[in-house]
Symmetry: C2
Subunit: 349 residues, 2 copies
DNA sequence: GGTGGCAGGCGAACCGGTTCAGCCGCGTCC
DNA sequence: GGACGCGGCTGAACCGGTTCGCCTGCCACC
């Protein structure tokens, strides 16, 4: 348990004042190049690492951002989405030597409380908002607090801070047109949680696209994203008198569950039923047949979100309220691409 | 953007000194009950939340623990294990108002560097060590550093800090005996990463248990835990001349992949092949047939690990080096239970 | 009534950085 | 030769808590 060395140790070792050491280490003017070099050498030799708390206290910056997830232990585990997102966020953050603080919460109230506490404690410099809902209460709350934030999802009308999102409209069209071309006329969609923004966006995109084609029916059933519900809904859909020849799922977990149900019912895939998944985690390639899915690069998405948050925080520090318009920018990522695999095929005559 | 209020604000509002406020807020003696009540009331009214950096700086405690994961973005996402573990850890931490800092690293060197930095920055009060390997270099490194840590896995010979683990020996026996009873004599196991401690433990447990029964063959093939390798190995196993009638997988992702391969090869499950998975995430119940698996409560496991780390940190603070023997305790969790499902059945004659 | 003990509270130092006013020495310019 | 400017560095204040020594006033006791 070696003692941690402080800036004062370096100062005495170098025969200069604490202030000079601080200037030297932070690359600021105020010391000559020769003394700077000497100080840096001594610091490196002694293995100096600044104490975060002390720095945070002076500059009142935490060098940390936070993410609060409002999902249960079980559902958060199966969704590869979150870990991939976090992983992408992390890669950008650690490049900028920022830390990530994670908190899992149960309710909206808890989540808001976490933000308030983080803000009051100066524990984080900014946060990511996941699972953006339609009319999300968190948006105004966070904005009122003055806590820098980036919405992981969008677009958001009249947003008071940046949002990063994928265009979901084009992929919805791609999927429907693809299925239409394969001859499917009776299509069902197992959608995600109804309150979520992207669910609403996809709902609308499907409806509008379907209107332009000549489907017999395009039904949407909402779910909670869990495999259980995915299976249950699929079972219901497939046992109806006029069952669909293709089902589109809003995530990969439900698609896998749906495939399981189809197997259970003895349906041949893709001959008797085509399956499309949204979000192409490795999961989609583990099944047989492999799932046709909408591929998005979630880690890259996370990176982009982190970039947005870091620039927002940086901007906050440099420019002042005049630069407000710069904060509300939104960033659109490349839309997902459809990756056809074995789970989709021509509709049976 | 309301101003954050400080202890000094409360002091002036209450007409006392900063010191008195500190005593009052921390429930320490030094103030009368009446002034304490007054101070608490004022603090609550003003919505006071202490600045973490300032507190950390004085008491040199971060109220935060860290976890570094050394996996790639893709593989970390599919493994429900990690998120479930983190979720469990979180639930205990937030109850003790501790934060969790997460970092994803690429190499061992990076991971060690992260620990060193966290320690030097006083950024965390302790860490969790995941994916414990045989002869893990991190153990001595962390112990030498004097950074409190809990090993998520074990048991570890001559450990210098606590380890929390599940007994893997009994489950291995349970699985083999179960398969034996079903009439399987030719069993294969797709094991995890060879360097990991629990892989070694299971390797040995299988070998020893198998020796006591009368199997024709019990082969073990090691993998990297990914679905790709799981599929590849399964394909090889099933296309060999003397193919196994049952395959045991060391995680759920590979088991799902194996099931996919079996489907692909047209094998009826469980008639022609029985499949057993380790770690019963919801994934195991999504497939058809559902996977027989070894159920462990991973969130509870995470909670236990967090408890161990918190008591270790607490103990560190209260007692001194004399209490060293208390640090090296190990904690064994309830072993996993076998949950038979549709993927296992009697061996074909 | 003088004294000791003690609860209650004050003021200042401290944690380890950052930052700013100010000082010193040197070169430059008028 | 004196005023000025400026690079280089020091010393001290400051961030917002915690903690410790010490002072005060009150009560009990001899």
């Amino acid at each position: 348990m070696t003692r941690r060395i402080t800036i004062a140790d370096i100062a005495t070792a170098a025969g200069v004042s604490k202030g000079a050491v601080s200037y030297a280490l932070n690359g600021r003017p105020g010391v000559s190049e020769t003394t700077r070099a000497k100080i840096l050498a001594i610091a490196a030799e002694m293995g100096f690492v600044p104490n975060r708390a002390a720095r945070s206290l002076s500059v009142s910056t935490a060098q940390t951002v936070g993410i609060a997830l409002r999902r249960t232990a079980r559902t958060i585990g199966v969704e590869p989405y979150f870990m991939e997102l976090i992983s992408g966020i992390e890669s950008t953050l650690s490049a900028g030597s920022f830390g990530l603080t994670l908190q899992i919460v149960g309710t909206l109230e808890e989540e808001l409380e976490v933000y308030r506490r983080w803000w009051a404690e100066r524990r984080v410099d900014g946060v990511f908002l996941c699972d953006i809902g339609t009319g999300d209460q968190r948006l105004d709350f966070i904005a009122d607090l003055g806590l820098p934030a980036v919405a992981v999802g969008g677009p958001i009308d009249g947003a008071r801070f940046p949002a990063v999102w994928h265009d979901d409209v084009a992929p919805c069209r791609d999927i429907l047109e693809y299925l239409y071309t394969l001859g499917h006329r009776r299509v069902a969609r197992v959608a995600g949680i109804p309150g979520l923004l992207h669910t609403a966006i996809r709902d609308r995109a499907y409806t509008e696209t379907a209107a332009g084609l000549h489907f017999t029916s395009v039904a949407t059933v909402h779910s909670d994203y869990t495999g259980e519900q995915g299976a249950q809904i699929t079972r219901r859909l497939l046992s109806s008198s006029k069952r669909p020849t293709a089902i589109v799922y809003d995530n990969d977990v439900m698609a896998v569950a749906g495939l399981g149900v189809a197997h259970e019912l003895g349906l041949a895939i893709p001959e008797q039923l085509s399956i499309v998944a949204w979000d192409d985690s490795p999961l989609c390639r583990l099944t047989h047949p492999a799932l046709t899915s909408l591929t998005r690069d979630i880690p890259a998405y996370g990176s982009t979100c982190a970039d947005a948050l870091l620039t927002l925080i940086g901007a906050d520090k440099d420019t002042d309220p005049p630069g407000t318009e710069a904060r509300t920018f939104s960033l659109q990522c490349m839309p997902g691409q459809l990756s056809p695999r074995g789970s989709t095929g021509p509709a049976q005559a």
